[in-house]
Amino acid sequence: MSDVLLFYLLGAVAVVASLLVIGQRNPIYSVLLLIASFGALSGLYVMLDAPFAAVIQIIVYAGAIMVLFLFVVMLLNAPHEDTEFDERVHPLMRPGPMRFGAALAVALIVELVWALTKRGGESGQFPGGAVSSVGAIGRSLFTQYAFPFEVTSILILVAMVGAVVLARREGQER
């Protein structure tokens, strides 16, 4: 019973924080609320017997990627929107894109929930006692998934070089 309660609590935190992320005017609040949402998701991973995913969610996502976002928000120092109209109207209340985007999101939720609840005979219960250890993940990562793992390192190298080249100031090379 307590895990049902915990699931709804963490799920509610994740959903509400994510909704507030797209409803904030100032991007700094958006980033901080997204970190709260990631914390709730990390709790859900713990409930799913996935301690490795929970830990890297906090360390890599909340700790590294979100700090990168926070740095860029502070670097650009542009918390406010462009025009007078954008300043006056809340971002979720603007006429054109809001209607289309909200309709699309509602349609997507209805569609997905309908597809998920209209199922056959399967109950969707989790099998008991399947705690996956970090050791098993590491063994699998370096044997069965060794090639994707190595390709990942090249991807990160390319992303690093790309970020340096893109963010470089023009006219400094000689």
């Binding site: 997507l108 989790f126 970020a163």
Partner: protein, 100 residues
């Protein structure tokens, strides 16, 4: 009892919120944050399915998704910085040079 469907529906809701953010917001950084919400919704699906199948592969895919998300964030934010330098704006509606 929390079943697989609970997690899948929660993930669907989070994914829809991310989609709505991409369409509704007119701020490049918030759009990138919405993409992160969508990536996390898919991560939740992977972990839930991995738990349902009793395999560790779900968490390994999550590891790869996070790596790709980090690369995407680094390159995307570099593009945002260089675009902001040219236009002094974060509104995607002001970048219309490629529009025919």
């Amino acid at each position: 009892m929390v079943t697989l469907n609970h997690y899948l529906i929660l993930s669907a809701i989070l994914f829809s919120i991310g989609t709505a953010g991409v369409f509704v917001r007119r701020n490049l950084i918030t759009i990138l944050l919405s993409i992160e919400i969508m990536l996390n919704a898919t991560n939740l699906t992977f972990v839930a399915f991995g738990r349902a199948l009793g395999a560790a592969d779900g968490q390994i895919i999550v590891f790869f998704v996070m790596t790709v998300a980090a690369a995407e964030a680094a390159v995307g934010l570099a593009i945002v910085i260089s675009v902001f330098r040219h236009r002094e704006s974060l509104n995607p509606d002001s970048f219309t040079n490629l529009k025919w």
